[in-house]
C-alpha cells in the first residue's frame, strides 16, 4: 500500500475528476445509470447521504442554495473533511480529539432523524 501511495493519489484524483465531470454533464434527476439509495428503497426514509448526487450536481452548476437544501450535511461536512485531509494529511485524523468524532457521529444520526420528520422546517430539507 505504502509503496504505491503516489499512484493511489493520482488514480483517486482521476476517478474523482471523472465522477465530477459525469455529475456535471448528466443530471441525476434525468439519468437512470446512477446508483440509488437502497436504504431509501427499503424503508422509504431518507438516509443521511440521500440527495448527495443531486446536491453535487447543483453545486457544480453554482446553485449553492439548491445543493444545501438537498443535503446540508454534505455541503458542510465534505469541505471540512477535504480541507483537513488536504492541509494536514491523513495523520491529522489520528490526532483529532475523540470528542470531535462523537460530535460528527451524533450530528449524522440527528440529521438522519430530523430530515425525516413530517413537519415544517424539516420537510424543507427532504431530498
Amino acid at each position: 500500500m505504502q509503496i504505491n501511495r503516489r499512484t493511489g493519489y493520482v488514480l483517486g484524483a482521476a476517478a474523482m475528476a471523472a465522477a465530477l465531470a459525469l455529475l456535471y454533464f448528466f443530471a441525476p434527476t434525468e439519468h437512470a445509470f446512477y446508483p440509488r439509495c437502497v436504504f431509501h428503497s427499503v424503508t422509504g426514509l431518507a438516509c443521511p447521504g440521500c440527495g448527495s448526487l443531486r446536491a453535487v450536481h447543483n453545486l457544480l452548476h453554482g446553485e449553492l442554495a439548491a445543493a444545501f437544501r438537498l443535503n446540508p450535511l454534505l455541503i458542510i461536512l465534505a469541505p471540512a473533511l477535504a480541507g483537513i485531509w488536504l492541509v494536514r494529511g491523513e495523520a491529522a485524523f489520528a490526532s483529532l480529539r475523540p470528542v470531535w468524532i462523537w460530535i460528527v457521529l451524533s450530528v449524522i444520526l440527528l440529521f438522519s432523524v430530523l430530515r425525516n420528520l413530517p413537519m415544517a422546517p424539516f420537510t424543507y430539507f427532504r431530498p
Partner: protein, 159 residues
Amino acid sequence: MYKILGADQKEYGPVTLEQLKQWVREGRANANTLIQGPDSTEWKPLGTFPELAGLSAAAAPMPPAPGPAYGTATATANVPTYLWQSIVVTLCCCLPVGIPAIIFSAQVNSKLAAGDLAGATSASNKARMFCWIALGLGLVANVIFLMLGMFDTFGKIKF
C-alpha cells in the same frame, strides 16, 4: 521473513528476524515501527510482535509518556483511523454498517491518545473491515436492486 516500513514511508525487506533484531539494537527500528510479519500482509507495530517485543522494550531509551498525547508524532501517523472513509461509507453506502466503522475509528484516536498502540491498531483494522463491508454491501445491494427493478417501490427518489 519480515518487511519493515521506514520513517520515509518506504517498504524495506524482506529481511530475516536476525536482521530485524540487529536494526532494533542499532536503534534504526523501535516499538512503533510498522512491520509486516511472515504470514501476514498487515502492517503492525513492532511492539506487538512477541518475538521482538522484549527486545524493543529493552532497547527503547524512552517509553511513551502516559496520558493524553494528541497530535504527537510518529506513532499516530502510522495507525490509520479510517475516519473519512467511515463517514463516506456511512453516507454513501450503508448506514447501519458505517456507524460501527465510525465508532471503531473514534477508538483508534482514544487508544492512540492513551498510548495503547496495539489496541489502536486492532481498532483500526476493525474500522477498515467495517468500511469494506459497508462498501461491498452498498455495491452488491445496488446491483441486486437494479437487476430486480426494486428501486421504484417508493417513487423515484435517487441517491
